[in-house]
Every structure is written in structure tokens, then in C-alpha cells.
């Protein structure tokens, strides 16, 4: 339960990152999710990524909607402000928060019900606007809190725990995000932390709308035979196009890779991503190619994972709106209010 206090003591020899924070400084309250839930692995990956990046925990704003996934921001970054908002409305709340203060890091956590059903519109429009954020969908294909109804990402033909076959087509959020112009698009699997952690880290360092769809099996309602979101099914059908290392302040080329197998992507903030190619022909700078690749592999029943698309020079919403560098929430009357002399002129023009 979230009101159970988590002990704060830790081993004095715990490793510290560049800012002197330990792993524990990025943790939150004790998870109330089911034992073995994929979401807890994602929580652990977020903690790991933030630790690795040496982010000041309080400079992150965690925003979520409603559902199991949306409860998780309470379980990581306990020194960050969190906002468990309204079902399906995380994207608009995050957009507003981002408008108010462009200097914070925005982490949006949502689920498949939250983003593909009730909040499908908000998901789409926040991507369209290029909000500078890391948008993570913890995708289990099922409504867990209400006990096992299909969500809109459940594959057609997959079976519910009660044995019902889903007859509706699935929404592939990654495909939609690509179409809507997300400038960082990835898919991963909660059971594959070595792939997920660097993806989250790279997404955080990316300026623009970053979207990560993380297949995260629901241990209670969607981990049975016939499900296409179970641990076994995803492991069997996972088709990773690449694996990456985010190397901040280090030269990735110094790492010993076999020639021709690594592609280095330098992001806007100078951070570098070393992509170890698995599929030699996959080009993560080709949006159209990515969309086709996804469709082809989906038709074969494969779940494509990895960094699927990145535009390292993306613009964000603030650039579109030409807003001042100073966060809007810190502007006061002296710079916002035109004053009485201007008002007198306005009055004069209205006579």
C-alpha cells in the first residue's frame, strides 16, 4: 500500500552518480501493483535511466492518467512532483504543465486504456503539437483495475482470460505516433530491461515528442495462453531491430563494436546514442520506411522493438509558439501587465 513508508536507510557504500545521488534517491513509494506486474519493471527502468542520466530528481514532473499504469508515478522519483490526473487526459495536463515551465523534464505515464481508448484523441494531439516530453504507454492490452476487459490495443483474435475472442482490430500506438510526427518513437518490452533503460534515457534526452510503447504483461488478467501480450508470447515474437547505449559525456566509438554494426546518433543536446544494429537494413531516420517495416512485420505476427525512428534536430511546441526562454510561470506583473498608460491609449482608441 502506498501509505506504507519505505525505509530510507541504505548501504553506505551505495554507488553514486555524477550528481552524488544514489539509486535510492530516484525511488518512490512501495508499489501496490500485483507481484510480477510488468509495470514494476518499467518503474525500475525509469529509476535506472534517471540515475544513469544524473537527473536532479526534483526537476522531473511525472504526469499520468488513470489506471494501473497511471498509479506508477507514485513508485518512482519520490522527490518529484507527480500528478495522477483524469482518465485519458494526461497529455493535455502535461501539455499545460510544459507550457508553464519549459525548464522541467516531463514524463508522461499512461496505459493502453488511457491512451488508445478514452484518451486516444489527447494522445494524438499532444504528439502532433511536438510537446517536449517522454510519453510512455505501459501496454498490457487489458483493463486490469476493472478486472480483465479488452483494451483497444488487444490484437484481433487474441483471447481474454475468460476465453472470449477479441473481434475488434487493434490500435498500434507506435504506428499512429509515427504518422502523427513524433520525433522519437520506440517500442520495448518490460521483460527486457537492457533494451528499455537506454531507450527511456535517450527519450528523456530527446527534445520533442518522444513516444515509447512498452509491452507490459498483466500478470493477473492477460498472461495466459491465447493472449498476445503475455510474457511467453512477447518473448517468442519479439523482433528487435536494434539495441542502444546512451552515452552522455562519453565517446560511444570508444566502445568496442564490430565495424559496420554501430550507428551513432547525436541528439540536439549533444548526447549520443550508439545503436547496435540487429537488422542491418533498418534505418531509424526513415519515417516512411519505419511505418512500412512495422506493417510488414505485424502482418507476420512479429512485435518490432527498438528505436524505430528518431529526428535528432526536432523542434518542440515552444519553438512553434515562439515563447520566451524564461518559464512563463515565473513572469510577474512587471513583465506581463501593459500598465495604465497603455490602458489609457486603449480607452482613447475605443471612443
Amino acid at each position: 500500500m502506498t501509505y506504507i513508508a519505505k525505509p530510507k536507510f541504505h548501504h553506505p557504500g551505495l554507488k553514486k552518480n555524477a550528481l552524488g545521488y544514489t539509486h535510492r534517491d530516484y525511488e518512490g513509494k512501495i508499489s501496490t501493483l500485483c507481484a510480477g506486474c510488468g509495470h514494476d519493471s518499467i518503474t525500475a527502468s525509469i529509476i535506472e535511466a534517471c540515475y544513469e542520466l544524473s537527473i536532479e530528481p526534483h526537476r522531473v514532473a511525472k504526469i499520468s492518467g488513470i489506471g494501473c499504469s497511471s498509479k506508477t508515478p507514485d513508485y518512482f522519483l519520490g522527490n518529484s512532483h507527480g500528478f495522477n490526473s483524469v482518465h485519458g487526459r494526461m497529455p493535455s495536463v502535461l501539455t499545460g504543465a510544459n507550457l508553464a515551465n519549459r525548464d522541467l523534464i516531463y514524463l508522461g505515464v499512461s496505459g493502453d486504456g488511457d491512451s488508445a481508448s478514452i484518451g486516444f484523441g489527447q494522445f494524438a494531439h499532444s504528439i502532433r503539437r511536438g510537446v517536449n516530453m517522454t510519453y510512455i504507454v505501459e501496454n498490457n492490452g487489458v483493463y486490469g483495475l476493472t478486472k480483465g476487459q479488452f483494451s483497444a490495443t488487444a490484437d484481433r483474435g487474441s483471447k481474454s482470460k475468460k476465453g472470449v475472442t477479441n473481434t475488434d482490430n487493434a490500435i498500434d500506438l507506435v504506428a499512429i505516433a509515427l504518422q502523427l510526427g513524433a520525433t522519437f518513437v520506440a517500442r520495448s518490452f518490460s521483460g527486457d530491461k537492457t533494451q528499455l533503460v537506454p531507450l527511456i534515457a535517450a527519450a528523456i534526452r530527446h527534445k520533442g515528442a518522444s513516444f515509447i510503447d512498452v509491452i507490459s504483461p498483466c500478470i493477473a488478467f492477460n498472461n495466459h495462453a491465447g493472449s498476445t501480450k503475455s510474457f511467453d508470447y512477447v518473448r517468442e515474437h519479439n523482433d528487435a531491430v536494434n539495441r542502444l547505449d546512451v552515452l552522455v559525456g562519453r565517446d560511444p566509438i570508444a566502445v568496442d563494436y564490430a565495424p559496420g554494426t554501430v550507428q551513432v546518433v547525436e541528439q540536439h543536446d549533444g548526447s549520443k546514442i550508439a545503436l547496435r544494429k540487429i537488422d542491418a537494413d533498418y534505418d531509424p531516420h526513415d519515417r516512411l520506411g519505419a511505418m512500412t517495416f512495422l506493417q510488414k512485420h505485424a502482418a507476420k505476427g512479429q512485435i518490432v522493438t527498438g528505436l524505430l525512428y528518431v529526428d535528432p534536430d526536432a523542434e518542440d511546441m515552444h519553438e512553434h509558439l515562439n515563447t520566451v526562454e524564461t518559464p512563463l510561470n515565473s513572469l510577474e506583473a512587471d513583465s506581463l501587465c501593459p500598465g495604465s498608460a497603455v490602458l489609457d491609449k486603449i480607452n482613447a482608441s475605443l471612443r
Partner: protein, 615 residues
């Protein structure tokens, strides 16, 4: 031709223009209203328009009123009938002895007229076609030509109209001179072919003073600029869209950094009202002043978020430019019909602060104040305008701003305060006013963070489903609402000359009609004390007013007497003593309507008018 004596009136009459929308008549009609203002004579114009872009009927009504009665009057003394579609209805609506101005290029059968009105034909199309060849020019200048003819008929000073044209087309010499030319084409034709002036005349006066002429939506948007709003999220909906559009225009002028050219504001057109209010809540949670503007259907969509704002205590400003509901209702007609919907918006026990400006000047003031109130009270503040105030030019006192004023950012705990060791509980009532402290995200590395949620939690923002913890929080919210009573604008009371047992309560756009109705009622011998409510929660003076009078009329523009319901509910008062006076056909309420409704009720009560009793 007339059986009835022509109406004769100086500076007190109603002219109505019947046009087809999209014909460019609006600017000529508005110029007519402004020209009368320049004579020093108050006017009160109103747009009556359909929910359509081109081709349907629109009307523009100008009440010329030396006495400064700015409410709608009812009745038409002169009809400028430019729309064949509505001809019959327009002709029928003219007061006996009134005037019909029409385009006489094509002859009309005599059955199309009335015997008891004065018909003035001007061959507008013929004049236009003989002067202009371009169809668009013909269309636009025809409007200026009728303006010219009217100036002669109503004895207006053409110099004042020329001056207005000069201001409008400053720097565009060609347009300026062609408009002046068109004006004189019409004026000269009228002077040489008609008896000018007619019985209705405009005579120079000095009753306008330093007042300004502005639409409520524009004034509210300007209030948001002055009040420090930096984030505006909105979704287009009549009659509120012009708030966001005006905010955009004002910000472009006054909110760009002079050195970098960058914007000190962000405006997002949301994908719907849910996104608009979500953006407002997110921005306000993060410490920016944010607002949205909408109308009834938008309010319905926003209610889930409004409940979150109430319960999680996040500031928000919602400008509701009310239109006739329910459902899509009459999108371009005015009502005050969202009082209950806003006061108790959202599921569960909720209550919200409402502000009721009476005109653009108050819309400006209250809009600016709404941001202080939202941050002080950490909740949603509704600015309750309506189409009548929002989308019509209204003569009102000049807008004022005190340069020494600083924004009230409310109770915000800073990093310094946290370092001093101040106890931070997000929902902890430290001052007894029900208002807790909040922190902005990113304030301090180790102190002051909390998890915002719409679920129940304790005073330190920790999740809890304990009944006593929940009730404790709900009671604090009641205390906070009580605090709000003394922070919101107070009611204004105006007593009758002689003591009376009767009172009247009204609010918002009903104001000018009510003021005028008081005069009419006094003339019938009825004395009424007045209380204009300017906000909810109601100040204690509302209860006192009710206690001091046997009967109180509650005048409002909705079917179900919503403000009356709210007063009865909140004050636990005997409903019989509150008499509903409701007007809800979508047109603005008039003094004639109010005076008749109250007068008839008073007669029914067998109240002996004081004047008769004395004589």
C-alpha cells in the same frame, strides 16, 4: 400614405437593420452606431445573427438613447429593410407611425407595405450600379450609400461620419476617398429627393462623456492580459471564440519581448474542451496563470476536470460566455442559463466561485481579478458572461488599472520557506481559512514535493480511504468556500427613495434593463430596493437583503430561475418570498418586460401605489 402620425423623437428611438449575413453590412451598421456616439448621444447596439456563415438573415439594432438606457428596448421605430427574405416580418415589426427604409430600385406591390407606417424608398441598387462595375464594390458601397441617405434623413452631421471613415481607413487613401464619395452619393440623393429630416432625429448632445465602446469578450480578454494570464487553451464555440481571438490580438500587441520578439504567452487551440481545460489545469498546477473561454456545451464537457480542480485544489479560470441551451440550443442567442451547471459543476459535492460582470468594464476588472482569486483560493473561478455582453459593443466607463497592483499569487511555499523548516502539508490548513499551501513542481531537491491526485488523501497528500480523513478534507473545503465569500466582489445595493417591503435581485447583463425598469416602475408608483449580485458564494448582505423585504423579485434570463434556486438552496430561505421573473426566449431582456412582469405582480398583490395613496 400614413393613417398614423409619424413618430417624432429626438435622440430616443430604435433603428433596426435587416441584412443578409456575409454582405459586408456589419461595418457600415457599426459605423452608423459610432457616428451617433460622436454626436455625444449614447447608443446601445445589438447583433442578432444566425449560426451560419453566409446567406441567412441577420439584424443589427441600434437603440439611440439620450438618457443612456443601454438595455434592449423592444420595438422598432425605423426599419432599414435590406433583406427580401425577412421583408414581411420586418415590415410587421415596425411601431405604428414608424419608418420603413428600403431599396426602391424595383417597384414593390402596395400590399407589401402598411398604411400606418412611413415608407422611404431610395433606389440604392440603381445608384450603386450606375457608379460601380465591380460586384463586390457594388455590394460594399451599397451599405455606405444607405448610411449616407440615413445621415440626411436623421439629420446627422456628415463631418462626424467622414471623421470615422478617416480613422478606419487611415493610410489607405483610395479606400478612404471612395467611402466618403459613396457616403455623399447616398446623402445627396436623399437631400434632393426626400423630405429631410424625418421625425426621428439625432441632435448633438454631451451624454457620452469619457465612456468607451467595447465588446465584453474583448474587454474580458484584455482583463486576462492585465491579470497576468500566460496560458490560454480554447476550443472554438460561439459566442466565446472572440475571447481567445481578442486575447491573441492583445498579446500580439502587448506581450512580446521588445528585444527578442519572443512571446510572453502561449495560446493553444485544443482539440476539444476536455483538452482545453486539461491544459489550463496542467499549466496552473505548474504555477502559470491560465484560462479557457467556452460556452454551455463546453462547460458540460469540462465538468470532470472542474471536479478535479475543486478536489485537488488547482487554480483555473473559465470564462463562460453563455448562450441559450440546453444541448446545442440556440447557439447565437443570449441567456443566463448555466448558473446551476457552473455553481455545482461535476460529480460529488462540489461548489464553485462564479463572477457576474454587468458590462465590459466589469468583465475587464473581474477577468483580471479572477486570476488572483483562482490562485488565492486554488480552485476554479467562472467568469459568467453571456452573448449579450460578450458579442455586442457596449458603452461603458473607461477601463482602469492601478500600476501599484501586484498579483496575488496565493499561498505558495518557496524553497527558502522549506529550508527554514516550515511544515509543508499540501492539504494542511495552517491559517484557519481552509486554504493550504502549495509548491510548484521543481521547487526543492528534497522538500515540498507531493503527489497530486483526484482520489482522497490526508493533509500531507498521502493516499487515504479513511472516512474521517476524507470528511476532514471535505469540511476544510467548506471553510475555504466560506473564505471565498469575503474575497469575491460584493453585491451592490440601491434603495428606493422611500422605504419599501419589496426588493429585486438581478445580475449580469440584466443590469441596464433593470435600471431602466426601475424608472418605469417608479412612474407606476412602485418602489423597489435593488440588489445586484456580482458573485457566488453569496455575501452575507444577500441574506440581510432577503430578511429586510417581504417579497424579493429575482430577475434572470433562463426558464428555471436558476439564481433564485441557488439563493433558496444556499440561504435556506422560504421560496415563496422569492418571486421569479424570467425571460428566456433568447433575446436580451428589456425594461418593458421587467416593468410589466413586476408591475403586474405588484398589482396582483393589490399593492396600492404610493403616489395614489398620497394623492
Amino acid at each position: 400614405m400614413s393613417d398614423k402620425k409619424p413618430i417624432s423623437s429626438v435622440n430616443d428611438f430604435v433603428v433596426r437593420f435587416a441584412n443578409v449575413n456575409g454582405s459586408g453590412s456589419a461595418s457600415a451598421n457599426e459605423m452608423f452606431a459610432r457616428a451617433i456616439l460622436r454626436h455625444g448621444v449614447p447608443v446601445s447596439p445589438r447583433n442578432i445573427f444566425p449560426s451560419n456563415i453566409q446567406g441567412l438573415p441577420t439584424w443589427y439594432e441600434v437603440r439611440v438613447t439620450e438618457d443612456g438606457h443601454l438595455g434592449a428596448r423592444g420595438g422598432v421605430d425605423m426599419m432599414v429593410a435590406m433583406n427580401p427574405q425577412t421583408w414581411d416580418k420586418d415590415v410587421a415589426g415596425i411601431e405604428p407611425g414608424g419608418y420603413l427604409f428600403y431599396d426602391s430600385t424595383k417597384p414593390m406591390p402596395s400590399t407589401k407595405f402598411r398604411d400606418d407606417i412611413n415608407v422611404i424608398g431610395v433606389p440604392l441598387t440603381a445608384i450603386t450600379n450606375s457608379t460601380y462595375t465591380d460586384p463586390r464594390q457594388r455590394q460594399l458601397f451599397k451599405n455606405i450609400i444607405y448610411l449616407g441617405a440615413l445621415s440626411a434623413l436623421l439629420d446627422m452631421d456628415p463631418k462626424l461620419i467622414e471623421q470615422l471613415i478617416g480613422e478606419q481607413y487611415k493610410g489607405k487613401e483610395k479606400l478612404l476617398s471612395s467611402n466618403v464619395h459613396a457616403l455623399h452619393l447616398g446623402r445627396d440623393w436623399a437631400l434632393s429627393n426626400l423630405k429631410c429630416p424625418i421625425g426621428l432625429r439625432v441632435k448633438k448632445s454631451d451624454k457620452v462623456g469619457d465612456r468607451i465602446f467595447i465588446e465584453g469578450n474583448s474587454a474580458a480578454a484584455l482583463g486576462a492580459v492585465y491579470g497576468g494570464a500566460t496560458v490560454c487553451a480554447w476550443y472554438p464555440i460561439t459566442p466565446s471564440s472572440s475571447v481567445a481571438e481578442a486575447f491573441t490580438a492583445h498579446c500580439k500587441k502587448y506581450r512580446h519581448d521588445p528585444e527578442t520578439g519572443k512571446a510572453k504567452y502561449a495560446i493553444v487551440q485544443g482539440e476539444d474542451e476536455l483538452a482545453s481545460i486539461g491544459i489550463v489545469i496542467g499549466a496552473s498546477w505548474n504555477g502559470a496563470r491560465a484560462f479557457t473561454a467556452t460556452s454551455g456545451p463546453g462547460i458540460s464537457l469540462m465538468t470532470e476536470f472542474i471536479g478535479l480542480s475543486y478536489f485537488a485544489e488547482i487554480p483555473a479560470v473559465i470564462m463562460n460566455i453563455q448562450r441559450a441551451g440546453p444541448s446545442t440550443g440556440m447557439p447565437t442567442r443570449t441567456q443566463q442559463c448555466d448558473i446551476i451547471a457552473c455553481a455545482y459543476a461535476s460529480h460529488g459535492d462540489t461548489k464553485h466561485v462564479l463572477l457576474f460582470p454587468e458590462d465590459p468594464a466589469e468583465a475587464f476588472e473581474f477577468a483580471a481579478a479572477a486570476f488572483d482569486l483562482a490562485e488565492r483560493l486554488q480552485t476554479t473561478i467562472f467568469l459568467m458572461l453571456d452573448l449579450d455582453i460578450g458579442m455586442n459593443h457596449r458603452l461603458c466607463r473607461p477601463l482602469k488599472w492601478d500600476d501599484s497592483k501586484q498579483y496575488d499569487r496565493g499561498k505558495v511555499m518557496t524553497a527558502e520557506m522549506l529550508d527554514e523548516g516550515r511544515d509543508f502539508g499540501r492539504y494542511l490548513d495552517v491559517d484557519g481559512d481552509g486554504i493550504p499551501y502549495r509548491t510548484y513542481p521543481g521547487t526543492h531537491p528534497t522538500k515540498g514535493s507531493y503527489f497530486t491526485r483526484g482520489t482522497s488523501r490526508d493533509r500531507y497528500a498521502r493516499y487515504s480511504e479513511e472516512g474521517s480523513v476524507y470528511a476532514d478534507n471535505m469540511q476544510r473545503l467548506v471553510r475555504k468556500f466560506e473564505t471565498a465569500q469575503d474575497l469575491v466582489p460584493r453585491p451592490l445595493q440601491a434603495n428606493a427613495e422611500r422605504p419599501t417591503k419589496y426588493g429585486v435581485i438581478y445580475f449580469g447583463s440584466t443590469s441596464p434593463a433593470m435600471d431602466e425598469a426601475i424608472g418605469l416602475l417608479e412612474a407606476r408608483g412602485h418602489q423597489l430596493d435593488r440588489l445586484r449580485i456580482r458573485a457566488f458564494p453569496f455575501h452575507s448582505s444577500v441574506a440581510s437583503f432577503l430578511a429586510e423585504h417581504d417579497f424579493v423579485y429575482v430577475v434572470e434570463q433562463n426558464r428555471d430561475s436558476q439564481l433564485r434556486q441557488l439563493i433558496v438552496n444556499e440561504n435556506g430561505i422560504d421560496p415563496v418570498r422569492l418571486v421569479p421573473i424570467v425571460h428566456y426566449d433568447g433575446t436580451p431582456i428589456t425594461a418593458r418586460f421587467i416593468a410589466k412582469a413586476i408591475g403586474d405582480h405588484q398589482d396582483h398583490l393589490k399593492v396600492t401605489p404610493l403616489r395614489k395613496a398620497v394623492s
